[in-house]
Assembly symmetry: C2
Homo-oligomer: 445 residues x 2
């Protein structure tokens, strides 16, 4: 029995970097050579309480800045009562986003906001471990009034009021038990980006696309936007490989201006594109709205770089998106993602989460599953992105079966890295990077 006066005793941070750039895994038109990284945070506790794990995802350089931002939040967290934190994570979320001096560094965007997300998510991991439930289940079981109180409605009330949110959550509960059973039996539909990285040649693309179909995926995604002729050829290869019934999405990773996005998407439409993702700047609400009007029936998807709930609100108000792509580690954690899920539900737009990177699949599955069980109530036209990288480094990795995410059953937010991986990939002192530096010195000597 944990002590009721248990406290957070430390906020430990780790600069974790995986050398993914060496195999061009994760390569796209904007990010040719990412080293998938995490500013990893562990909330230490006393009194026999579990730990809480969270992270911000980055792609290499600058992960140290992200770690420094997490460290800047320490004084808000150390010494807090574990019981109080878990009873109301929203209090810490508000204290962190409301620190007026730190707020200046955003506000509510960029490095500082992602740091808040890492810490807030670690609290939810702790809360779910403490409750003995996977996070999706903790959220789905929670009282709608309590969930509503977890949300900061500032800047939202012209689109979503607390009363509307409460109403959506109450209605979402109807049939939740049945959907929980369905989720545990069949999982949540996934699509895969693994075939489509820009650095892969056509043979590898075709091989991986065929495997994706054989594995039960009904949607795949290709990276586009570097060279139009290449994209036409790669889309043709993909469509020829998967046949007419598999959904084919394309991801431009913000490469285009608005007129270019319209032209380029038009040139790829003949391959039956399902959606075009991040056609232009993630900040450009009006731009996405213009692209959407021009490229229909191709759908417009964005959100992995949308920095906060205010941007999602506008994307929905402006009719700029067909698909809302939440990311578990870009905004200020579960609390802000609850607001975004509710906005999407209010506007009737499906949520298809962004994942991949380091542990984004592990985290975001919980949010999509909560959305299915206790908010939107459906998986129609909803899929979670899946990329088969780096899962082995987590203690509770995602399990994909027949193109579906299997519902996690272990307590927590699936956010904990294996200690051996931390020891190996901590930058620059971990065993991998230390040996790498030695090799490099050997070559240059």
């Amino acid at each position: 029995m944990p002590a009721t006066d248990a406290r957070i005793t430390a906020v430990d941070t780790y600069d974790i970097r995986f050398p993914t750039s060496r195999a061009l895994d994760g390569s796209d038109a904007m990010n040719p050579d990412p080293d998938y990284s995490a500013a990893y945070v562990v909330l230490r506790t006393d009194g026999g309480e579990p730990e809480g794990h969270g992270f911000a995802f980055t792609i290499g350089r600058g992960n140290d800045v992200q770690v420094a931002a997490v460290r800047a939040l320490r004084d808000h967290v150390v010494g807090r009562s574990v019981a109080a934190l878990c009873a109301d994570p929203g209090t810490l979320y508000r204290d962190l986003t409301g620190d007026s001096q730190l707020r200046w560094l955003g506000p509510e965007k960029g490095v500082m906001h992602m740091a808040i997300g890492a810490v807030v998510n670690a609290v939810w991991d702790l809360a779910a471990r403490r409750a003995g439930k996977p996070l999706w289940r903790l959220l789905a079981d929670a009282d709608p009034e309590w969930l509503t109180a977890q949300i900061d409605f500032r800047y939202l009330t012209d689109a979503l009021t607390p009363d509307e949110a409460l109403d959506l959550l109450r209605r979402g509960r109807k049939g939740a038990a049945e959907r929980t059973g369905h989720l545990l039996a069949y999982g949540y539909p996934a699509y895969t980006t693994s075939p489509g990285w820009l650095g892969y040649d056509d043979d590898k693309l075709a091989r991986l696309a065929a495997r994706a179909v054989a594995d039960g995926f009904t949607q795949i995604k290709l990276k586009v936007g570097a060279d139009l002729d290449d994209d036409i050829r790669r889309c043709r290869v993909a469509r020829a490989t998967v046949g007419p019934d598999i959904r084919l999405a394309a991801d431009a990773n913000q490469r285009w201006d608005v007129p270019e996005a319209i032209r380029w998407t038009g040139a790829l439409a003949e391959f039956g594109l399902y959606w075009i993702e991040e056609p232009t700047s993630p900040d450009d609400v009006l731009g996405h709205a213009a692209v959407r009007r021009a490229v229909a029936p191709v759908k417009v998807a964005t959100g992995e770089h949308a920095h906060n709930r205010v941007l999602f609100k506008q994307l929905l108000q402006a009719g700029a998106v067909d698909i809302v792509q939440i990311d578990a580690a870009r905004v200020a954690g579960v609390n802000e993602n609850l607001a975004i899920l509710l906005l999407a539900a209010k506007f009737g737009v499906p949520v298809c989460p962004h994942a991949g990177g380091v542990g984004l699949c592990e985290l975001v599955q919980h949010l999509a599953m909560f959305d299915y069980v206790a908010l939107s109530g459906t998986t129609e036209d909803r899929v979670i992105e899946y990329v088969d990288h780096l899962h082995d480094h987590f203690t509770d990795p995602v399990v994909i079966r027949a193109g579906h995410y299997t519902a996690p059953t272990a307590p927590g937010f699936s956010a904990a890295l294996r200690p051996a991986s931390v020891a190996r990939y901590t930058y620059p002192g971990g065993t991998f990077w230390a040996a790498d530096a030695e090799r490099t010195e050997g070559r240059t000597a």
Copy 2:
């Protein structure tokens, strides 16, 4: 004569913090206790070249994170040729914003983007010192084609093309010599926020408002948004003090949701408000547009927290603002601000820069003066904010005369702090903060 092969030898960073919270200078509804701070950067050179100075402005906690972000840019800068950098600062600007791994931390927003702004502005300071001109003059004298090439038009071409920019700059040159003469003789109009801090009582407000009028200012600004009754009383005091002919602006510092902004502004309109500033989230383009439609003829002003050119583009496209408030240290430096000035010129919206903080007056005057001399060609309905704090810490402080900024004549971007101030206010090791820590220990011991 400097050596032609001179290089950047070091990027030195300093965490500078001023204890402004102790007098409630700078207090507003969102920022009750700012400690005005700067992540200060000095580009060291060899070969007898001058140094380059720049900074990001923060309000205390987290300034260390901002410094870490500047440090993360070092490898892009050290070793560069001084002559090449100054001949084309745009190359470095593109290299910094285009570093795909660092870009993930924004993109183009928050801590990482402000760090780029600090470094890019330091390069412009160096370029202007090297040219023996104040920055406003270097820009006003520059070839329009060269200026156009300094801009990254990515994400802008649906609103502003390079050809349109070039045309605006060429037209802006007509009459520049005459306007330069006028500027040197009379300066650039200012307004003052010094009377209106939220932490000041009514007597201090009235006293400072009267002094502002006596000093020649034709516009003052009050902080509002914490308590409506207080705001009504303070607006009444201010209007009674300054009379009917002085423009009275109000600044809500992002405190309101859209419906609240409309109601609150309506309640203050009877005092003849000229503009309402930052009525809601700085990210909320559609929200500002809705507020503007509702509160006219009160004008809507925003921009000091607008994180990049894409947001300014949308504010203008959506008809969301009457006044564009650029900030010299929030976006990625002079290059991105050139784009924003051109967008404002294209849409015919006046620019009234945000200033105050640490050194923001010193920097932004150069941009407004360039705009007057060689772009918009007018100061009608244009004023630069002025706050009389912390100027003495700069080697080339602003000079205000009869409610006008005097045009700087010293070479550079007016960005250099006095060495004595750096030594005293570096955190936590500077003499002020070390003594402060000792005092605190003395009290608690």
